[in-house]
Amino acid sequence: MSRDAILNAVRRGLKRGPLPADQIAMLRGRMELHPRHLIPARSRLPHPEQVDLFVRNVEKEFGSVARVPDLDSVPAAVADFLAAQNLPTSFVMAPHPELRAVPWSNRPLLTIREGRAQATDQVSMQHAFAGIAETGTLMLPSAPERPTTLNLLADTEIVLLRASRLVGAYEEAWDRLRADMGGMPRNVMLVTGPSRSADIEQTLELGAHGPRQLHVVLVEDAG
């Protein structure tokens, strides 16, 4: 059987048999503790400065950010963005409780469908589990209330992120994910800016196969 043949070949190369029990216990312990390595100093900042760093990094990666004071301000921010970009006022939205809690009816012109994205959707509204200041990255784990297709199929993706969910380094976001979701969700996307390609003459062009635009609505709820 290939499995055993491969494992035996690995052990032959390492010039030993299967690992002894104490070594296995040590390695299991390492996996359970999942120790962090060096974390770059760039994100070791007070929280308000982490928020600023996040915004700078999203913009550096060709995304855009609208900072709003509370959830009540979200519908206006979304409507303004869509109008400014000449986009339709209808979009597909993640069926997430926090998005449902937004008073969308304040803007009756917005037409919202909940669910996964279809090929025809031009705009999607996603919910961010976390934001990572280090590189301006959004953490978007899959769940029934956070379909993955919302990150991929629409030309424009809008993402709601609460500043209280914003951390400095990736490691902090992973800790939050483990705490809130138990194990690994089926899919975790770390998204940094809109889709792009440099395959034609090694020159950057935005809008390859994923969203051409990535817009973050950042709710400053962190006090």
């Binding site: 491969i6 999942h34 770059p40 669910g115 029934p144 297709t149 990150n151 992973w174 770390l190």
Partner: protein, 482 residues
């Protein structure tokens, strides 16, 4: 199936040097990769320390690879996925085909995968009536042109706008013939439209993996286009192709490697999409594949463990070595003849195809050391290439003239007195012959050098002789104190 032309490296290189389109592409793209990496590294003061960390994580994993492979499998199974262990390319091709046939697949979308190129999966699927569609933009045009990628992260490195236009006009015959391609964006938009329908229709999606995480049973892909994510999200079945050495123990280990990967590769701080996949669709999920298969491939890796080429298994396929290589920069990727070009290819290809097939590659190096100096996991690439040269010599694969010359040189090198005497005579003779012009346009036995450039004439004195003279005159000490 693309047959390796690595044995014809010398002829390939000559052709490459005389290919104006390729030279145009190399001149344009080479310097930009170097500049972008340098800027990204300058932006992260901890970068050198992170390279040490990356090296250590990979070393730790390889030293315990059997354990981590078993843990990984356990966790893939626990999350509802399947692992198919494959000893070689044949077994991997058969495993992929079987999954596709069980799924009743007619079309398969593909994310970029170098192991996919290594096992020629596309040709195998085509031979069995299944249509594979490459969705990474660079891989897409490579597939249209039926050639191998010329670079491991930029498959179409060797092509120019006119090549793209030509391939698109030839292949997309359903579109108006009089459409214009004014700029790169027009190419990109046409590919986006064409491939969108492929994504939606595919029955199976095949991706590679940048990393496999033992503790969670996850596979990780890193892309900028989003094609890999559409490939692994939309079809009913997701197949991951991965070789053994993609393993890392934990998410934190993976995170540390990701910090050096994009910076070394494209000079980005982080790629646009870094995605962790763990098993199949969960209860209540509105999207995602219903089946998740990992085809775990050895194909020569386990045979490298514990040998002098062990360090090569740390490679995370960033391409920094080829981006900084003067040989790659002169001849491009296709001259190397197979899937992996540049310094990493010069080490890996002889390991996978045999040194009798690819012995030219480790010889195609100036040993300038640039590759090692930029490698994010600190693989001593020049040393490993030298090991291949030694093996080639031991197995009498080196040409007779070179063997004879090396034997003569070795005889002198083992007799320092004779060596100094012989080099002293040669230096004085050449110094005297070249005393007027200070250089030679041609010399017997040195045609390989003087064909392309003049050979500077020696000063008439060897290094040893000069050193001894300056020591006597006290110049050396003086120079030190200055």
């Amino acid at each position: 199936m693309h047959v390796s032309t690595a044995p014809a490296f010398k002829a390939n290189a000559h052709q490459a040097l005389a290919n104006p389109g390729l030279q145009k592409a190399l001149a344009r793209s080479g310097p930009s990769f170097i500049a972008r990496r340098a800027a990204a590294v300058a932006g992260l003061p901890e970068f050198e320390q992170l390279r040490d960390t990356a090296r250590d994580i990979k070393n730790h994993t390889l030293a315990n690879l059997d354990f981590y492979l078993e843990e990984y499998e356990r966790n893939v199974l626990a999350s509802g996925g399947k692992v198919h262990w494959c000893a070689d390319a044949d077994a991997a091709r058969a495993a992929v085909l079987e999954i596709c046939q069980k799924a009743g697949a007619r079309t398969v979308t593909k994310g970029k995968s170098m192991i996919g190129e290594e096992i020629s999966i596309n040709h195998h699927l085509e031979a069995h009536g299944i249509t594979p569609i490459e969705t990474d933009l660079g891989e897409y045009i490579i597939q249209l042109r039926d050639e191998l990628p010329s670079h491991i992260i930029a498959p179409a490195f060797h092509l120019n706008m006119e090549d793209w236009e030509e391939a698109f006009r030839k292949s997309h015959t359903d579109l108006p013939a009089d459409r214009v391609f004014n700029e790169r964006r027009d190419i990109l938009t046409e590919a986006r439209t064409k491939l969108r329908s492929a994504f939606l229709q595919a029955d199976v999606g095949i991706t590679g993996a940048n990393f496999l995480i033992a503790a969670t049973g996850s596979s990780v892909i890193v892309t900028n286009e989003g094609n890999g994510d559409l490939t692994q999200t939309l079809p009913r079945v997701h197949i991951v192709l991965a070789s053994l050495e993609k393993m890392v123990p934990t998410i934190e280990d993976c995170t540390s490697l990701l910090r050096v990967l994009a910076r070394s590769a494209t000079g980005q701080d982080f790629s646009v999409y870094t995605t962790f996949s763990t098993g199949a669709r969960r209860p209540g999920d509105l999207d995602g594949p219903e089946e998740y298969h990992v085809v775990l491939i050895d194909n020569g890796r386990s045979a490298m463990i514990g040998t002098e080429f062990h360090d090569m298994l740390r490679c995370i396929r960033c391409a920094a070595c080829m981006n900084h290589c003067p040989v790659y920069g002169a001849v491009g990727g296709h001259a190397y003849g197979w899937v992996y070009p540049g310094p990493m290819g010069s080490v890996l290809t002889p390991g996978l195809l045999g040194v009798d097939q690819a012995g030219h590659l480790p010889n195609a190096s100036t040993f300038c050391g640039k590759c090692e100096s930029v490698c994010p996991v600190r693989i001593p690439l020049p040393k490993l290439m030298r090991h291949w040269r030694e093996r080639e010599f031991e197995r009498h694969l080196t040409p007779a003239v070179m063997r004879t010359n090396l034997a003569i040189w070795a005889w002198f090198a083992r007799r320092p007195q004779m060596y100094r005497m012989a080099t002293g005579i040669a230096a004085r003779a050449l110094g005297w012959l070249g005393r007027k012009k200070r250089s030679f346009k041609s010399l017997p036995f040195a045609g390989g050098w003087t064909e392309g450039r003049d050979l500077p004439a020696p000063e008439g004195e060897t290094f040893f002789a000069r050193y001894a003279r300056e020591q006597r005159q006290g110049l050396h000490r003086q120079g030190h104190n200055r």
